[in-house]
Symmetry: C2
Subunit: 463 residues, 2 copies
């Protein structure tokens, strides 16, 4: 490399990608289709449009178009906070004493605090274009709810967020932020829906669950005129929108002639990982790259590393369509962990297929070690990472230390998907040395697997 | 303007300014010297070096050097999070329907959440260069403490932060963040210093004050080997470091041939305002610009708009050297306000002199209206502002609306000094409509003025 690579690899505004990259278009073998849970037949656009907006449904079902134009109205939204930073981790490299070059793409400087905004904007935009008046969604930790509240404020749409009750109580400031952006926030379960009432009748003191909040949000959307439901992860149209992360990273690296050898992302539902790797994986599938791809998950919720490849429900209530994916079973109950965004039993279908086909490696990490890495990182790079994102830091540091042993000058790119501002209780636990690691027992896993529906394809195509 | 101005006016890494701008060098009439509180004689370097680091003291006393080189070791630090964003507020302009062009310099994307990091880095660097092992400081709301903790982690120095007890209790996450960066945090008053013990003896249940925390931090520094005290506002070397804000803003605007007509900043101790306006004011003092400068303060703490120009103490304990400044008196007790960073009785001496000489306008704002402006801003620009910074938003919006009336196409630049992530309780109060405005009565002001020391110059030179 002739010119010195700056700490921040910049893209000018006109260099922000104008297309999302549809990774499925590069796959010879596509992911299995989504099935209707009643008929077990592939679901079509009409079936999905009852719940979701039209254009996202079209994108969900589009497996062939490589580049999907980002409408001008969404480019506007992206310009308000993008390009996100692509940073050369000079200080981290120095403290590790590694010959590796480490880069990270940081999605945490927007007010929602994470990459979630990249799909919230498009979903709100399409809803507005379609003539809808309002949207509903659910939120657990609060990142997605905040992102949707911001996007709906920007485009002028009403929004109702069903927030898992225990989260709404533990994170009053997340609630405040969502409400300040003008959204209605309802702790779930609530008396405002039949689904909520039924759960409250069973257990009036329940603290709620993501599965229940999803059910309430969908019910509200279906019963409201000019209203639809939006989801922030797992689905392929969400991953498509998130490809802006990888597209930007690639454009910035290309300007300096840099090709990453190893690309690392944390994996919950897969939207951040899938978005980051999309164009790089496209090159690999086309035989133009030998890069390695590493998904990092918590040892307490080992979807890739200990899960099964099977058709499963997306929610604990078993109401959603069936998705063929790596799953621990919708009945799997992960132990408490501070990386709330990684506590999901399933995984995006495209990433699951790529994993099964050997294109993605996966590893699981203990949260105590993840926080060690996070704190080492923040002391030299300055940035407080989200616990989820810190899983990628841990793996990147391990790969860089491996290079130190071998002397190889590899190029490592990792995704820093969000800020830890709203996770300081986790760092408090780390400082107090009260963080606990839980490795699920085989019995606990088996209880989860038992919840996977028993349909013909599951047994034959199981990994 | 031929080329369209982008939403973000970028500077490449090599365009980050390599000099701080010393505004006093451009002033024909300099601010009055700092006085020793006992002798009432101007204090010299030796007097200040007992408490502060050597190089900052040199900078504090340097009134003539226009450009002070930023050492390579500090440029390194700045590269970790700078340049900060200079953003064209296209969305705000549109919603206001103004012909004005609005730009803002956003200092809130670094983990400390505000501009404070711009001086924390240099102060830690100089301490390390001088061979010190540790530093002490105090923090109220927590921004400065966090910034110093980050800087000391980066340069490898120990740090003790005395945090006002009530803040440490109300903001446990600020405490966590500071501790995670490796600093020792002591709620003040504490039993670890004579100053703290004396106050606790008087009132064991006191919630602490900034004045007391300052006393404890200075005492600890003076009693510790290879240790000094650092301060994050008010002093001229702090404002010098903060000139990086204005230097960057000017460099980015210059690239597009833009000269602001109105420059607006919120004013607490003056470091953010002074840093933002420095090079632009230099042009004005040299007769090269007709720009207007507006300082915005809370109506509850009207230092510029209702204060006096007099020698006064920097702390409520009346232990610091005397500074000639706009002041409400160190005994003035501002009503509770959510803009904690603007609740200071005094003002940087350079800005005070420029105000008295007519170069800076000032206005005070009600916090209810400031929050109205903040929420309107965040809905279109996306960014959650700190309540302090929102004072500048309010004034910028008012100026833009004035342009709408007159049809003038003025260029407005304002400083967005920090993020509101740690101020969500304030937004909660706003949403609940429990925000209160307090306009100090003349009696309250008079009580404050009565605390201003009665020394000859004060009566003769009072404004």
């Amino acid at each position: 490399m002739a010119a010195k690579i700056p700490t921040r690899l910049h893209l000018d505004e006109e260099e922000i990608p104008k297309y999302w990259y549809n990774l499925r278009s590069a796959m010879k073998e596509k992911p299995q289709p989504i099935l209707h849970p009643g008929t077990l037949e592939p679901i079509d656009a009409a079936g999905l449009e009852a719940v979701f907006c039209q254009e996202p449904v079209k994108q969900e079902l589009d497996e062939t178009t490589p580049l999907i134009p980002i409408p001008e109205g969404i480019q506007d939204f992206y310009r308000a906070y993008r390009p996100s930073g692509l940073i050369r981790a000079y200080f981290l490299e120095k403290v590790l004493g590694t010959p590796a070059e480490i880069y990270y793409k940081f999605e945490g400087t927007n007010t929602s605090g994470s990459h979630k905004l990249n799909s919230a904007g498009p979903q709100a935009y399409y809803a507005k274009e379609e003539g809808l008046r309002s949207l509903t969604t659910e939120t657990g930790a609060g990142q997605w709810g905040t992102a949707m509240a911001m996007a709906c404020a920007f485009y002028g749409l009403d929004l109702t967020v069903f927030m898992v009750k225990v989260s709404a109580e533990q994170k009053p400031y997340r609630k405040t932020l969502i409400e300040t952006y003008g959204a209605e926030l309802i702790p779930s379960p609530s008396e405002t829906t039949e689904a909520g009432k039924a759960i409250l009748a069973q257990d009036p003191h329940t603290t709620g669950s993501l599965g229940c909040a999803i059910s309430e949000a969908i019910e509200r959307a279906m019963k409201t005129d000019k209203c639809r439901y939006v989801l922030g992860s797992v689905l392929n149209h969400v991953m498509l929108h998130q490809s802006i992360i990888g597209q930007e990273a690639k454009a910035a690296l290309d300007k300096y002639g840099i090709s990453p050898d190893i690309i690392i992302g944390c994996a919950g539902g897969g939207s951040n990982l899938g978005g980051l790797i999309a164009p790089f994986m496209g090159d690999k599938l086309a035989g133009k790259s030998q890069a390695r791809f590493i998904a990092v998950e918590p040892i307490s919720c080992p979807t890739f590393t200990r899960g099964r490849y099977a058709y499963d429900f997306g929610d604990t209530g078993k109401t959603t369509p069936l998705i063929k994916m790596m799953t621990l079973g919708s009945g799997f109950i992960p132990a408490g962990s501070h990386a709330g965004g990684l506590r999901y039993h399933g995984m995006n279908s495209t990433l699951s297929k790529l994993f099964v086909d050997g294109y993605i490696e996966a590893r699981s990490e203990r949260q105590s070690e993840v926080f060690d890495a996070a704190v080492q990182f923040m002391k030299v790079e300055g940035i407080l990472p989200a616990p989820e994102s810190a899983h990628a830091i841990k793996a990147a540091m391990d790969e860089a230390l491996e290079c130190k042993k071998t002397g190889e000058k590899k190029v490592i790119l990792f995704g820093l998907s969000g800020t830890g501002y709203f996770d300081l209780s986790a760092f408090m636990a780390y400082n107090d040395k009260t963080l606990k690691d839980h490795v699920p027992t085989q019995e606990e896993l088996d209880r989860g697997f038992a919840s996977i529906p028993d349909i013909p394809q599951n047994s034959s195509m199981e990994k």
